[in-house]
Symmetry: C2
């Protein structure tokens, strides 16, 4: 919670719920990543926070962009990014969207299947393509499923096939899982990628790029290591498995660049107990799962929360609460199993601040579920 | 899938993904509910599908409305509904929204806690208030948590307090759980409500209304009993527990009125396997959890699906599939555990129809997650 955000909240008293993003934090996070991992090109994962203010800032800082869809590419181009700085990183693309992106000058595409490769060969001839491989992803708070990627032996065959189809078999990508806290996951993934580089070398193909994905954490309820610790683990893995012959390295940070830049200001709508012998209070906020906090699904992401009058209530006793959103949907509960504590003096109308909510919030908001408007955001 | 919808799809070939709603189905469902449960007043749960076309139709048919928020009330009033036909049914309301609704003429409010009652006493003096009680809800496909309602003994005390605060202690509400398929749940709930009526009678308060909530099903993958079977179960429970002295009855159908009225037309973006020995295909549609199919969360609602060329492929063998959405979010999987089958001949570009998607889809769509636009809807 930066001084700039605190000042904005104190002076503007914006209507809740709303997200305040301090753009300086994003700039600092970007520079920090460049400083500690200077050999890697940064491709910002637009989906983490697609606000024009964020994109513009990152264009200005020289970032590249990982886009998930045609509208994201449109937005990045509109903000002044060069088409060569864009990776169409979704492995699930409509043929007509590939063709459109290629026409705009985008030349870097992800794939993980034969069918996607066929689309690329037809609509993006000669483009650089990289194959995403499956990872197991222990230790990630927002876990990955098997939705993306394929087995390494299939990846090898597909990259050979890419060459035969007139594409440029450019490299390999993986994702260790968002909010990844186990450092050795990078070692496993880089090792697997290096083996694939060798296998393709044997087939006469020299891959040129390793895409390390995202996975660097933001600061939620658990403490996380600073970016330099991750950078060091990644570089150690790279030199261990590639020696001096390092390929081009790409990272796709989303959460780690923008997550900690924002806080959501919300209001307590209701505090209640369900029966006389309940020792847990239900605290209902004016934001919930469908208003921007979708990542509380299965209580995966555990945000830090501050009650606004923290200083005054610091001496107060706290007690367990179940936190829920304002909709009539019974699934709209934020935290029930992960016991949160709040001051016993908490009152209806008090403000509650939800920290590190700069990533994966605004764009996740529902259009108007239960009539509630999407999360409003201020970029300062 | 009505003839009207099929004709629309054949003639218009709308861009996917989109929802087509046949308004005639909603009108027929409304009339059917009135026919089989004539003593109950219908309060349509606006949140199920808040489209102006749906609201207008139901205003015309004489429906009342269960609104979850100020914007929903605004919308219902704008469609020509009288304020007396509106119940502000959310138990979690901001004080200023209660005051605003009261100014508009709304006089029926839900509550389930002391704090909410205090707000109502201050901002809606003299209004009819009903207390929601907790139910356990076995048998519901979209389960209820303990988020709404309070224990019966607390409800009794709160209704007495309502009178002392100058409010009209009007009745009791419960909800047996959305998509409820166990008929005896109504018997349990009505029985508990009748006991509460007696307890308040002993305190000199005559409650006048029982709000049966929603819970009647739409037709997803499991077969469901027709509405008359539910109506009969409800009336049996009412006469068993209330005898000839029936209170005013209210139902709040959402899913059962609009669910079966709509189908989503989607397109297969990709079909792939993750490894050579996978016998399950991954089928990626252009709609997923964040584009309107939020109720597939934890695979709770299991939609029926048709591939568009069903007739041609009827003789085809089918095979198991995992169904997923188009975003780069690994949680955007529709069905993985509940094995769905699709024709082995299914191809990229084929259309897939998702049935009974008239409720809880459009308004759940994310604003622009991964850049994808919210679900477009046609009302015919």
């Amino acid at each position: 919670m930066t001084a700039k955000i605190l000042r904005f909240l104190a002076e503007e008293r914006p209507e809740t719920p709303c997200l305040i993003v301090d753009l300086d934090v994003i700039a600092e996070n970007y520079r920090s990543l460049r400083r500690y991992l200077p050999v890697a090109d940064v491709f910002y994962a637009v989906k983490a926070n697609p606000a024009p203010e964020v994109i513009k800032l990152l264009v200005g800082l020289g970032s590249n962009f990982d886009a998930a869809s045609r509208p994201e590419i449109e937005q990045v181009l509109a903000a002044g990014a060069a088409p060569e700085s864009i990776s169409f990183g979704n492995t699930i693309k409509k043929q007509r969207d590939i063709a459109w992106a290629y026409e705009q000058g985008v030349r870097l595409f992800a794939f993980d299947s034969e069918a996607e490769l066929a689309k690329l060969a037809e609509s993006a001839p000669g483009a650089k393509v990289f194959c995403r491989i499956l990872m197991s992803c222990d230790g990630a708070e927002w876990p990955l499923s098997r939705k993306f990627g394929c087995d390494a032996d299939m990846a090898r065959d597909l990259l050979i096939r890419a060459r035969d189809l007139g594409l440029d078999p450019y490299g390999v990508s993986f994702h260790v899982g968002s909010q990844q806290t186990m450092l050795d996951q990078w070692d496993i993934a880089v090792g697997r990628t290096a083996m694939l580089f060798s296998a393709l070398n044997a087939a006469g193909i020299e891959l040129k790029m390793i895409n390390l994905g995202g996975g660097l954490p933001a600061h939620y309820r658990s403490d996380v290591a600073p970016v330099d610790v991750y950078a060091e683990a990644i570089m150690r893995a790279m030199t261990k498995h590639f020696g001096n012959n390092l390929p081009r390295m790409i990272t796709e940070p989303g959460r780690s660049l923008v997550g900690d830049s924002g806080i959501i200001e919300s209001e307590v709508v209701l505090i209640s107990r369900k029966s006389y012998d309940d020792d847990v209070r239900w605290v209902y906020l004016d934001i919930g799962k469908f208003g921007g906090l979708a990542e509380t699904m299965d209580e995966a992401i555990k945000y830090r929360m501050h009650t606004a009058n923290e200083e005054e209530t610091a001496r107060d006793a706290t007690g367990p609460v179940i936190l829920a959103g304002p909709t009539c949907d019974s699934a709209d509960i934020l935290y029930e199993k992960n016991q949160y504590q709040m001051p016993l003096s908490l009152q209806v109308g008090d403000r509650v601040r939800i920290l590190s909510t700069g990533a994966y919030t605004t764009s996740y908001s529902s259009v108007n579920f239960n009539g509630f408007a999407p999360l409003k955001a201020y970029f300062i």
